[in-house]
């Protein structure tokens, strides 16, 4: 210890161009008393915690802001939609499919063995009670986010009369459930409620 203390700092520039500093001249951590190591540890970790806490506002600022979270809802008038027709409305920047199903389509959706589905859900869980003819789903393929075809009469509706995603070939049935292709899940259901027999509020 004594000779350590007696030795001068080992860095040795002999002139203003201090490029020749000896890299071995670092003062080694071990030589200080224990108190300093503890202090250094305490100060270091305290500072690290502070930096960590301060990072949060930066990260959180990129989360949805209050105005985005306070989304307005979308009202949809159902009366003009004839049986067999579908319309697309915008909600939260995404398309929502509102489909007026025919009796045949409802029948198709009901007759499926739920247990065999990739994402098992009975048709009754896909619609509101007593409103079997109205299927309302978010029109975003659960594979990688494309909008499936099947809204227009001229669109392909896939092998199950529902929707067909042209990007990677997922097929959805008349309850918006995935039946074939790479999509893992059924088309998602938005939160919605019937405000009258012919009006629905999404959101």
């Amino acid at each position: 210890m004594a000779d350590v203390l007696a030795s001068p700092p080992k860095t040795s520039p002999s002139e203003p161009g201090p490029r020749h500093a000896d890299p071995a001249g670092t003062v080694h951590e071990g030589e200080g008393p224990v108190r300093r190591d503890f202090l250094k540890l305490a100060a270091g970790s305290f500072a690290a915690v502070g930096v960590g806490v301060l990072a949060w506002p930066f990260i959180h600022s990129m989360n949805p802001s209050a105005d985005v979270l306070a989304l307005s809802s979308t009202d949809v008038e159902l009366a003009p939609i004839a049986e067999g027709q579908a319309i697309t409305v915008m909600w939260r920047g995404k398309p929502v499919f509102v489909r007026h199903r025919t009796a045949k389509e409802i029948q198709e959706a009901r007759s499926v063995n739920v247990g065999e589905l990739r994402d098992p859900a009975p048709d009754s869980a896909r619609v509101k009670p007593g409103k079997d003819q109205w299927l309302i789903v978010i029109g975003v393929c659960t594979h990688l986010g494309c909008v499936p075809l099947g809204q227009k009469p001229t669109d392909p509706r896939g092998d199950y009369d529902g929707w067909f995603c042209p990007c990677h070939g997922s097929h959805y049935d008349t309850a918006g459930r995935v039946r074939r292709g790479p999509a893992p899940l059924n088309l998602a259901l938005p939160t919605y409620a019937f405000t009258s027999d012919t009006r629905v509020r999404i959101g």
Partner: protein, 425 residues
């Protein structure tokens, strides 16, 4: 050891593998670890590190803010208010960015003041100093364009007045102004390009800062005595001595910063900038941000358009010539009994310039601005060259170590020449 690889001292095998191929660890070790640094820095030497940290804070908050900001005259003011109200912690980021600009100037002004007092601009550090002046000018441009972005009244009229400075240039002036505006007044094209440049320039500054540091590490730092280190006894490794000393400065800096951001976030701003820009009405009393006021005062001191602009520009440009205007071989003002007072007076003079810059353009403020502007230039052009010839400096200590150790014992100080202010710390 394989041919062509760097000879690394790092012991950790992974880090060593990297370091032998790209010696960044060795470089940091060499430039910030063992880097031999004069042992007698006082706390004025904190401001370089503080400026670096401030730059990082400004870029971090600015990049995040730009994700929410809309550079369009119809949306800018509203998007800033949305940041303040609806974006998570948006108010914190915006206030930190706005007050960060003020902190940046406080820090850089102190850094420059230290440079001028201790003669750090003198040989061999002339280029280091000139690069610093370039950084200062880039900062001013960045700050000015940033202030335009919220598109309040002061933003708009500040932009109008400052861009109109260029119209003082003979013949082509008006064309340059139209070109700057991208139209016939400060408008949407102006706002868009200012936003683009405001985003770009900080990265240019970062690049120039690296040049500044590279140049610093060639010559090494100056120190309060203004004499070069003569041997190992005069220097200490940068780490842990100056990392720990800088840390204290950082805490004090953050305290001041926090007080501004959390308790008086609009103190350094102007209420008029919370009024949306209106091209039809100029505010009754327009002033630039506080950090421009000394230069603004010089501009207004001259009752001639071109003259005023030239003087204001000259107040900055003259700094590039300072290393040659002051030809005294003694750096530190501690050993220059006359120059020291001339410089302290210059410092007060600069603050007075800032004060009159914020006053209306009427008497007696114009007269004060004229006197102070005259002294600002006289200091550089007359006093320093003259003193270099006639002043008799005090005797310099033989070495840094000798000076430091002499006063450790706390004996009586001879002539104050070799004080070590940080002894207590």
């Amino acid at each position: 050891m394989a041919e062509g690889l760097h000879d690394s001292d790092v012991s950790n095998p992974v880090l060593r593998w990297i370091d032998r191929r790209l010696p960044v660890i060795s470089m940091v070790q060499r430039e910030y670890g063992t880097f031999p640094t004069p042992r007698n820095f006082n706390y004025f030497w904190n401001f370089g590190a503080l400026a670096m940290i401030n730059l990082v804070i400004m870029i971090a908050t600015g990049v995040i803010l730009s994700m929410q900001y809309a550079a369009n005259t119809g949306l800018a003011f509203d998007s800033v208010e949305r940041i303040m109200r609806d974006v998570n912690y948006g108010w914190l980021l915006r206030y930190a960015h706005a007050n960060g600009a003020s902190m940046f100037f406080i820090v850089v002004y102190m850094h420059i003041w230290r440079n001028l007092y201790y003669g750090s601009y003198k040989t061999p550090r002339e280029l280091l100093f000139m690069i610093g002046v370039v950084i200062f000018i880039l900062m001013m441009a960045t700050a000015f364009m940033g202030y335009v972005l919220p598109w309040g009244q002061m933003s708009f009229w500040g932009a109008t007045v400052i861009t109109n400075l260029f119209s003082a240039i003979p013949v082509v002036g008006q064309h340059i102004v139209t070109w700057l505006w991208g139209g016939f007044s400060v408008d949407n094209p102006t706002l868009n390009r200012f936003f683009s440049l405001h985003y770009l320039l900080p990265f240019v500054i970062t690049g120039v800062v690296f040049l500044h540091i590279a140049a610093l590490h060639i010559t090494g730092s100056n120190n309060p005595l203004g004499i070069e280190p003569k041997g190992p006894k005069d220097t200490i490794p940068f780490h842990p001595y100056y990392t720990s000393k800088d840390s204290i400065g950082i805490i004090v800096y953050l305290m001041v910063f926090a007080i501004l951001v959390f308790f008086m976030p609009n103190y350094l701003g102007h209420p008029d900038n919370y009024i949306p820009a209106n091209p039809l009405v100029t505010p009754a009393h327009i002033v630039p941000e506080w950090y421009f006021l000394p230069f603004y005062a010089i501009l207004r001191a001259v009752p001639n358009k071109l003259g005023g602009v030239a003087m204001m520009g000259g107040a900055l440009v003259i700094l590039f010539f300072l290393p040659w205007l002051d030809s005294s071989p003694v750096r530190s003002m501690r050993f220059r009994p006359i120059a020291k007072w001339a410089f302290l007076l210059w410092s007060v003079n600069f603050v007075v310039l800032g004060w009159v810059g914020g006053k209306p353009a009427e008497q007696p403020y114009i007269l004060i601005a004229q006197i102070c502007s005259a002294y600002y230039f006289a200091y550089f052009l007359v006093i320093l060259p003259l003193l270099a010839k006639i002043e008799r400096p005090l005797p310099l200590p033989e070495s840094i170590a000798a000076s430091v150790l002499k006063h450790r014992g706390g004996g009586p100080l001879p002539s104050g020449a070799t004080a070590k202010p940080m002894e207590k710390a």
